[in-house]
Structures are given as C-alpha cells and as structure tokens.
Symmetry: C2
Subunit: 526 residues, 2 copies
C-alpha cells in the first residue's frame, strides 16, 4: 500500500537537502569530467540517451536521491496509476494515458469496458478513416481528394498535436509519408481562424473538432467561425468535419460530423497526444502506420519508466534531479532547449504539460504544501536561443537549469559544408560547447567577460528525430512530470486554477459586473 506523504515529511529528504553541493567548475574539468560524461547517463527508448554529467550531482547525491525515490515509492505509485487507481484525487478519476500506447500492467476496466481495448479500437477506427481519405474512398462534394487537415482545439487539444506534427513534418516529407498538410486553429481571437482559412482551400480540407466535453467555448466558437466560412463558400460542413470527443458529449453520434472518434475522462488534455486527440490529425497527416510508430516509441519509454532503479530509469532520475534543483538548490525555472528546428513548439507543449500539472500549492488531499512546487518552463530551439536569451542564462543573476535535446543526424538529410563542417556538425558542436560553457565558465580579468559557470544542464541525445524517438521524448517528459508530482505529493492531473477566469469571463459577457471588473471591461469596450 502506497503512502502519500509530503516531500518535507520524508526522512530521506533531509539527507538530500543537507547534502554538500557539487561545484561543476571543479568536477567537469580534467579526468573527473571525462569520467562523469562516460558514467552519468541512462538509456531511453528508441536509442536515446539521457546524459546528466553536467548536473550538480555526484555519487553521494545520487545515492540519497535513490533513497528518496524508494521512500517516496515512485515505482509502486506509477504501478498503482497504470493499474487503474484513482490517482486524480481532485476529480476522482483514473489516469490512463499510458494505455493509449501499450499495456503496462493489469487489464484496466472502467465504465464496463477494458480501456486498453477501447483506446486501441479508437486508434483502429481512425486508421480506417484515414485510409479511406488517403485512397479516395472519402471525397469532397466535387469528388476530389482532401489534401489538408485543420485541427480545431485549444490547450492540450492543440499544443501537443501541433508540436508533434511540426516535429515530423519534414521527416515525413523526406520519407515519402507526407499525406496531408495540417494546420491548427486554437485562439478565440477570430484573426486566428481567419488567418488559417485564408491560407488553405476549404473545399479540400477536413476539419477535426476536438473537445472532450463538447462544450469548450473557444473551440465551439471557432467551429462556428469555420462552418460560417464553409457555408459562404457553398460547402456542406458535415462533409468536412469529424469530431474527437467523449462518447457522452453532444458531438458524439451527431450527423453534423462525417465521423467521431473517442477519448474519455481518464485522458487529461495535456496527456492526450497519444490518444485520438493526436491520433486523428497525425494519422491523416502522415498515415496511421507513422502514428503507430510514434506510439511504439512512447510505450517502450513507459516500460523503462516503470523500472524501480532510478539509475536505469531516465524519467525518474530526471524528476529527482529536478526536485533537487527546485527544492534543495532553490532554482525557479527550467529552460528546454532542443537543438532541432523540428522541435520548435516542443517547449510550448512541455510548458503546458509541466506547469499545468505541477503548478499547485495544495497536496493531493487538498492541504497546503510548504515548499516550492512546479518551476517556470520556457524555451526556444538552439542555436536561435544562443543569439537571444542565453545572455541571461550565462551571466544573469539567477541560475536556471537547462534541458538540452540534440540529434546526431538531421531529418531532411540535405546539408552543406562551410568552413570545413556541415550545418549539422555546427549544430551539434554548439550544443556540446554550451554544456561546457555553462558548467565550467571562464575566468577573465574583465568581469564583463567573465563566466561564473556552475550552471547545470542535461542533454537527451538521439540518432535522428524519428516517430519512435519523438514518442520516447514525449513519454519521458510525461513520466518525469508524473514522478515530480509524486515527490511533491500533488495531484498532477487536475487544473482547478483555470476555473475562476472562466466564471468571471462569463460574467463580463453577461454584463453582470461591477467595480474594477466593470471598469476594465469598459476600457476594452465589451
């Protein structure tokens, strides 16, 4: 039986908090530095490697972090989760996104169904639908093939699928599996929908309406915007729209849609990229077999995450080191820095995943916690960031831990050699150089040119960003965030913090406001 205990009540936490700090400017130099890079790495799925040599840990700190993992029962809590316990205590729900990509433990039955079978069935239904679109069994009013897919959703129905699409777009083009261009409409700002509609041919487009409840106001508003535009173009919206929703939503079994694919309450929006929410758009864009490869990468990473030895479990180790940085070293943020243009929106997805999951001040029983929880997450692709905010990372007054991601090979497999090296080599040389620059710094008599160093980073390295590697990356971070939630004793699967704004916005629209809210509404002429 697992004990759900606050971090500061765990006996092993004291050993972590009191451990002597590691000075990277010392340990990353000379033979010790070489040894650290060789030793401090953990395997991940799809051939990825998690390297944490440049984190402020050593054998002593790793040992107490392993004790902490054991006392916090991280592995058995994950086991409890994937075997179908009510881990989402706030909403009294199971947490089953792992089942969308594999069977980690026992069969999980809920709502009278084997849930793994349910998710697999939805995936197969999507595969069949996508196949019919691709081979021309489903055509538009004029008998033409569809060539574009537009996802209408917000939050988790947007950020994850969008980041995954961008991550594989050029890979798919190179590898002959680019089937349909995908676009995304999310913002209730009408200029978002107008911009997307202005850039496509609606007559050859399938729109995917994504809303679990079928009542998300932004999404329904954008659907109405799109339907209005289709009508004005003389098109029949019901021949252009599919829905991804829950079986009990008003969008299910509705003749306004060509078809509907299902998810359920056990898949949080920010954990839904491997469910129908990501499945429909990615299967249409790249083919269902590519989506299946993406799921395989995630499932393989989940299996590694289920191990109970943190030294062989990259997600667990990453989580432990992150909590050490946040709670023992007091760092406020983490920067996610992929050296891959394809991952341009991956940091935005992780920002939601992490900040919405663990940006909480009460534990899973609703009691206040007395320690910092989720950090700020932000990031942009390198090398672009190097020419931008890295100045602060190197020489600012706060230390910000860094999460690099890099690949040996690029996706498009075209390159040029300039000054004796390819672009890809330059890219990799830059990330290697940054790790050392942050860790070791550089002395200089001119303090303006001095680098203090001792700024920790880790890097996930892969051969190439394939569908499997992307799935593994996604699952790694989902599982890391889950383990951190366990350590902080949070419920990482609800989001009550988004409710108050919704309630007040409705009041503004109903003109039921007074005081400052009325004044602000007046400034905005609502």
């Amino acid at each position: 039986m697992n004990q759900w205990i606050n971090l500061d009540k765990l006996a092993s936490w004291r050993n972590v908090a009191q451990a002597e700090h590691v000075d990277l400017t010392k340990v990353m130099n000379g033979a010790e530095g070489t040894e650290r890079v060789r030793k401090y790495k953990a395997p991940m799925a799809a051939g990825l490697t998690y390297s944490y040599a440049a984190k402020q840990v050593d054998d002593r700190i790793l040992a107490v972090l392993c004790e902490l993992a054991k006392e916090a029962q991280l592995a058995s809590k994950f086991e409890e989760l994937y075997n179908g316990a009510v881990i989402n205590t706030g909403e009294k729900r199971l947490v089953l996104h792992h089942l969308t990509r594999g069977q980690l433990g026992k069969a999980v039955n809920a709502d009278g169904k084997d849930k793994r079978a349910f998710y697999t069935e939805q995936q197969q239904k999507i595969a069949s639908f996508a196949g019919k679109v691709h081979d021309g069994q489903i055509l538009n009013e004029k008998g033409e093939k569809f060539n574009t897919v537009v996802q209408i959703g917000i939050g988790g129905s947007d950020l994850g699928p969008r980041a995954m699409y961008l991550a594989l777009e050029n890979w798919a083009k190179k590898n002959g599996c680019f089937r349909m261009e995908a676009k995304f409409i999310s913002n209730v700002d009408p200029d978002d929908a107008a911009g997307v509609l202005g850039s496509i041919d609606p007559s050859r487009t399938i729109f995917i309406l994504v809303s679990k409840s079928g009542t998300t106001l932004e999404t329904l508003t954008n659907e109405a915007f799109v339907k209005d535009a289709l009508k004005k173009a003389g098109l029949d919206a019901s021949r252009h729209m599919i829905a991804v929703t829950s079986e009990t939503s008003p969008l299910a079994g509705n003749s306004d849609y060509l078809d509907a694919f299902f998810m359920d309450d056990y898949i949080g929006g920010r954990y839904s990229s491997t469910s129908s929410v990501g499945g429909a758009v990615l299967s249409l864009a790249f083919g269902p077999e590519i989506f299946a490869r993406f799921l395989n990468g995630a499932a393989e990473e989940d299996r590694l995450s289920a191990g109970d030895d943190p030294m062989q479990n990259a997600a667990m180790l990453d989580a432990l080191i992150g909590v050490y940085e946040r709670n023992a070293l007091g760092y406020p943020a983490t920067a996610v820095l992929p050296y891959s243009q394809a991952l341009s929106r991956f940091p935005a997805h992780l920002q939601q995943l992490d900040m919405e999951s663990n940006g909480k001040s009460v534990n899973r029983r609703g009691e206040p916690v007395s320690y910092p929880t989720g950090p700020i997450i932000f990031g942009e692709p390198g090398t672009n960031g190097q020419h931008s905010f890295y100045q602060l990372l190197h020489q600012g007054t706060d230390i910000i831990p860094l999460q690099f991601i890099g690949f040996v090979n690029n996706q498009a497999e075209v390159d040029v050699t300039i000054q004796g090296s390819t672009s890809q080599q330059k890219l990799c040389a830059n990330v290697a150089a940054q790790i050392m620059a942050f860790a070791c710094g550089k002395e200089d008599e001119n303090l303006n040119k001095r680098f203090e160093g001792n700024r920790p980073s880790s890097i996930i390295i892969g051969d190439r960003l394939t569908p499997e590697a992307l799935g593994a990356l996604l699952a790694h971070f989902e599982n890391k965030v889950m383990f951190q939630g366990f350590l902080w004793n949070l419920n990482s699967f609800d989001q009550e913090g988004v409710q108050l704004g919704k309630v007040l916005a409705k009041r503004v629209l109903a003109h039921e406001t007074e005081g400052a809210l009325k004044e602000i509404s007046d400034l905005l002429k609502i």
Copy 2:
C-alpha cells in the same frame, strides 16, 4: 552631468524597498478598485493606454518610485543616449536605434556622418528597391515578378522582424497592402532552411541576407545552403539576393547581391527592427508606406518616453514597477500575454530584448552588482495560455507578474456571434476576467479550488493592432528595458555572455578538445 550609480546606493531606493506592500485582494475590490482602474493609467502613442491598476502599487509607492526615477536621472540619461553619448560602455559605442525612426534631440554625428540622415537614406533606398520589385522593374531570370521574400538572419535579425511581420500579415491582407509573403530562416539546423525552401518557389523569391558584421556563421551557412539550392534549380543567386549589413562588411559592394542596405554598430541586433534589418523585409512584404507608419508609431512613443514625469511616461513607469517587483518583492519572472494571435511571436522578441539586454551581473563599469537584475521573460498568446500554463500562474507557489496586451477590435474584421457574443468580445472578456482573477482571487473551503490572488498584472489596451500601434508597442518595451538598465546601472547594449559558447564551438569543430568536452562531442558523433 549624469551619475551612474548602483540601484542599492540610491537614497530613494531605501524608501522603495521599505514601503509597505499593497494587497490587491483588498484594494481591487469595491469603490477603491473602480477608482484605481480610472486613475492608474498612462497614455501611449497610437491611442494605446497603459493600465497598471492591478499592479501592487498605490499613491505612496508611486511617489517613492517617482523619487527614484528622479534620483536615478532616468530622463536625462535617455537624453544623453539619444544625443549620442557612448552609452554602450562595454563596446564603446553610441546607441542610436531611436534615430532610425525620428530625431529626438540634437543631430548626432559619427563616422563623419549625420546618423539620422544616414538611417533615413537607407530607408529611402529600401523603399525605392521595394517599389521596383512591386511594380516589376526588378524581375527574375524569366521576367516574372517576385512574390516571396525570405529573411536569412539569426537573433535580432530574425526574432524582431519575424514578430513584426506576423503582427501585420493579416492586417495587411485585410487592408489591401499585402505585397509578398515573407518567410524566415534562422537556425543552423539544416532542416530549418530545407523546410522553408520546400514551402516556396525559389525562382520567384528574394532572399535577404542579414548580418551586421557579414561574418555570422549561422547566417553564412544558411546563405550557402540557399545558394546551393538555387544553383541546383538552375537559378542565378546574385539575381535573388540582397544584403543588409554594415558598410564595412564583406557583404557591402559585393556583386553577389542585387543590392545592399546598411546599418551600423550603433544599432544592436535586438533593437534593429526599425532599421534596415526590419525595413527591407517589411517594406517588401507590405510596402514602404506601411513600414513608415510603423516607424511613426515608434517615434511618437519615443517622444512620450522622453518626458521626465513617470506618471505620464508609460515606459518609465512600467520600468519602475518592474524593478519594484524584481528587487523589492523578489519576483523571478514576467509573463507577456498578448490577447491577439497576431502577436504570437511578440513574447519571443521581448524575451530576447529583455533577457539579452539586462541578464547581467556586472554594472556598466564592470563591477559586480549585489541585487537581482533582468527577470526571466516568457509568454504565449491568450486565450491559449489560459488552457495551458495559467494553472501555475494562478495557483503555483511563486508569484509571476503579468503583462497583458489587448485590443478592442480584431484585424481581419470578420467574426461570428455565438451564445450572444462575438469571438472578439469573448477574447476581451477573458483578459478582463483574468486581471481580476489574478488580483482578487477567490476563497473556497476546498483549498484545491481556492485562489490566493494578489498576483499583479498590467495591460496595454489599444483600439486595433495597426502599424502605428505595433511601432508604439515595440518602442514602449525597448524604452522600458533601457530604463530598467539605467536603474540597475547595467550596460543593456552589449552581450558578452554569448561569446564563450562560440569560442568552444569552434574548438569542437576543429577537434581541439579534451576531457568532458571531447566526451560530449563523441556522444554527438561530431
């Protein structure tokens, strides 16, 4: 004569640091809240308004901040800057980006030239070139008109111009001044260039190579990548490329380019959107008259920023409140949250502008400072962020000040009414609601549904995002960052923190590494 003194040595700073804190959950309620919204606002250019009612300030704190502004000589330091002093002490350079859009003070002569005349001349040269492209005097090899422009640059040569282009793209389409589609190549990752080249017709594209020194490795590498592709397509690169560079760079007077337009060392990359760096791409995309309107908005805002009364100078006031939040209240970050999809990349531009300018630990004389300087800057457009990281902003353990931006009207001027309100009204209702939700919070017996409140925000409100409004917004933040640099006594105009990584990357590429750097390079197979 201005005195350049560290913040903590200013007598008035003590009064700021010791002022009793404001509790927004109290002051933003009832009649006091109404009064605050009416009173706490400052005018900006182009009809914008800066509203700071929901910041943790009151008349007492504003009074001591005004004293601080006076003692720190903010207005006369700005005067010194725009009149041509060597404000960039590290690189011993003038700081003249304001002159690219207007004449604020005296004529500034440098390098034997009137600099205002020089920048205006470049703008006119660009206007003339763009006119010839638009009316078909400059054509491709086959005598066809160009329809696309691709900017090749990184850092300030990319983020600012890209954010400005996206901000006006749909406005231009609506207002009949969309001339050419613009794309951007920045990352040395070859997949970036390959992706852009795969999405355009190179035969009808003008490429703008942007590098002040003419030696930026990423940019030259991408140029080579593009030239290689043009050659393979049987095209003559010299008929497709222009350069934006300094007069002394190898790109100037070079027959590889159709034409060259100039900037100089007095325009930092992150301050270059109003120079030729933004001018070429924006004039080609939207026409020179639109670029001129953008400059006018910036110039008008600069004139307001030159005033010495902080209560009538939104940039100065914003800077003072930001320093109060960072140094008296101890907040680590600021989130930039535009409720406008057109501003989707504006936060990324501000992230560079702010973090690269003020992410420093030594003052302008190269002495260490003993207080926190530039915060982390991050953000995404609302309402998307509401469905993502706002959870942490509302209920996380750290307080993060917020900078909202909102407009009464949208750009595309199409909209739908759903449930009694337009999309635009919903958008505005959401930002109004968020301000109050963050400020006042909400009690609840269930602590998981409780909102602590007292989370400060400001909002810049405009009628519509026009070229003038965009120019005003840009100048506001440039000037805010400058004033904060003055308060922290930093040199906001150099970026020594980017150097070490460059040096080490060269060493990796030359295989002149040992120890940990060699090991990491081996993992990446460089």
